[in-house]
Assembly symmetry: C2
Homo-oligomer: 301 residues x 2
């Protein structure tokens, strides 16, 4: 089963494309998980989160940068969390934004997409700035091992404009990056499948650009961050999706993290069961909102 | 003591700007360090390397991607190796090529440049594609803690052309990135010091571009990879350096890794003392070659 097949099948089964971004901010994790700022609290929080969201999300996207402050102990937790998600049948998109020249990229790609992989991931995010040769070790392993590669193209942060929007002969840089990915889209598409296992990051905060991205990469999966806390609406988030023959918009995942992980203002949730109920409600509510957005009439034909 | 002061002072004392790139390729580490492909062999190899090169190099640049395939065990070794270099008085440039949006970049920056830092580093490499706001957490910590930030601008790999050379209103993208870094150059320059603690990656394989980079960023340190095995000559590598009042070219470090770490073709070195002698000769030879290059007449005035 390819990465794209797995993602599309789960989104159809659930009726929405929600991906939960696993961003463990140490100062927002409720005290009931342990000492504030401890890696034990991070692990307990992430582990509980997987139990709750596994039946309700298409995928989970752990944020490697939020485990790294604990060094090797944080990475050990990230490994166990990825393994737990895999064992729960929940596809893992490791949000690591890696990228380096060939021989080093091999190291990163082996860790996330290799056969003896360290992180039990289905897909990893990579940065294209250094060029196509730096993406190659990831693409080769994704193709060989039925996994995916998610390339940063148009990100959701305000500063994305600084370089991604610079005009390159009549089109912004991000369009040129998307165009350069077309051969990879083809290589990661299995005959008979609607979508490639190439994924592009396309921020929900820039809905007008999602349609343009879709024109360039008609079969690529979209990884849409920025829905929820970052300000993108559900309708905006699926702007680049494609209407399937049965009338549903599909073609990627929409990621929400803070709005699901931290539904309450304070880190002082009540009991564990109250906290679980709050998270379950947040994930169901985001799923329902996205479910409406993908089944509405309109959008791209 | 700021990062730039430390780097410039060491280069003056040694008479050359050699930085050793610590790239532990599992299949090239001599068998005498232990089982091929084991993390124990990687640690023994890196640890010996620091003992040998500490008195002869300006800095060491461990390649994070080559520790990641061992997951948390590899990261634990990377932590110990960085700490050992610091204890040996050898500045550490962590080559991690990190980059992410604000809150996550905070995590990465805290791990490498924070006060309770996990990696004992003086500087970390970062990727600018996502925009200036994604560099900010690194810049803030570098400024507060006397450390450096090395931004990828013009890399040494063939694929660097794919995006970095795209024309943006009459200049390549990498020039626009360099221009955008000017305020950071200023913020990381301490009054009375010749150089900023901002560093830019500027590949030795593109010497004609180093002079242009220097015009844009006159006080920025250059991190020049690609010298040695990647094909850049010593003279090419210092093309962007600046002639000091005492006639020496300075303003950055030149990194060599494979030519120093693996001076012999086969992974079958003889005894440990023979191997040590080979490494010492390789590092001295690279130092001598760079020493000639920085003291030659010519270059930038």
């Amino acid at each position: 089963v390819s990465f794209s097949e797995k993602i599309i099948a789960r989104a159809r089964a659930l009726g929405h494309p929600l991906c939960v971004g696993l961003d463990p901010f140490a100062d927002r994790i409720p005290r009931l998980f342990g000492e504030a700022g401890s890696i034990a609290a991070v692990e307990a929080f992430c582990s509980e989160m997987i139990d709750i969201v596994a039946p309700h999300a298409v995928a989970i996207k752990p944020q490697a940068g939020l485990f790294e402050p604990w060094g090797h102990q944080g990475i050990a937790v990230l490994e166990r969390i990825c393994a737990k998600a895999r064992d729960a049948g929940l596809p893992v998109i490791l949000d690591a934004k890696r990228g380096d020249i060939g021989t080093t990229a091999d190291g990163y790609a082996e860790a996330s997409l290799g056969c003896g992989q360290v992180f039990a991931t289905d897909c990893v995010t990579v940065n294209p700035y250094m060029g196509l040769d730096t993406l190659e070790p990831f693409v080769v392993r994704a193709q060989a091992n039925g996994r995916g590669v998610a390339v940063l193209v148009r990100t959701s942060n305000p500063g994305a404009r600084d370089f991604q929007d610079l005009d390159v002969n009549g089109a912004p840089l991000w369009v040129r990056v998307a165009e350069a990915l077309k051969p990879i889209e083809a290589r990661l598409t299995i005959a008979g499948q609607a979508f490639s296992s190439l994924m592009v990051v396309c921020g929900a905060t820039w809905p007008q650009e999602a349609a343009r991205m879709r024109q360039i990469l008609p079969r690529t999966l979209f990884l849409v961050p920025g829905y929820g806390a970052q300000g993108g609406s559900a309708a905006d988030a699926v702007k680049g999706f494609v209407r399937s023959s049965d009338g549903v918009l599909e073609g990627g995942v929409v990621s929400a993290s803070r709005s699901i992980l931290y539904p309450n203002e304070a880190a002082e949730a009540g009991t564990l069961s109250e906290w679980r109920a709050d998270i379950l409600q947040a994930v169901r509510s985001a799923g329902a909102e996205l479910s409406s957005a993908v089944s509405l009439k309109g959008g791209l034909a």
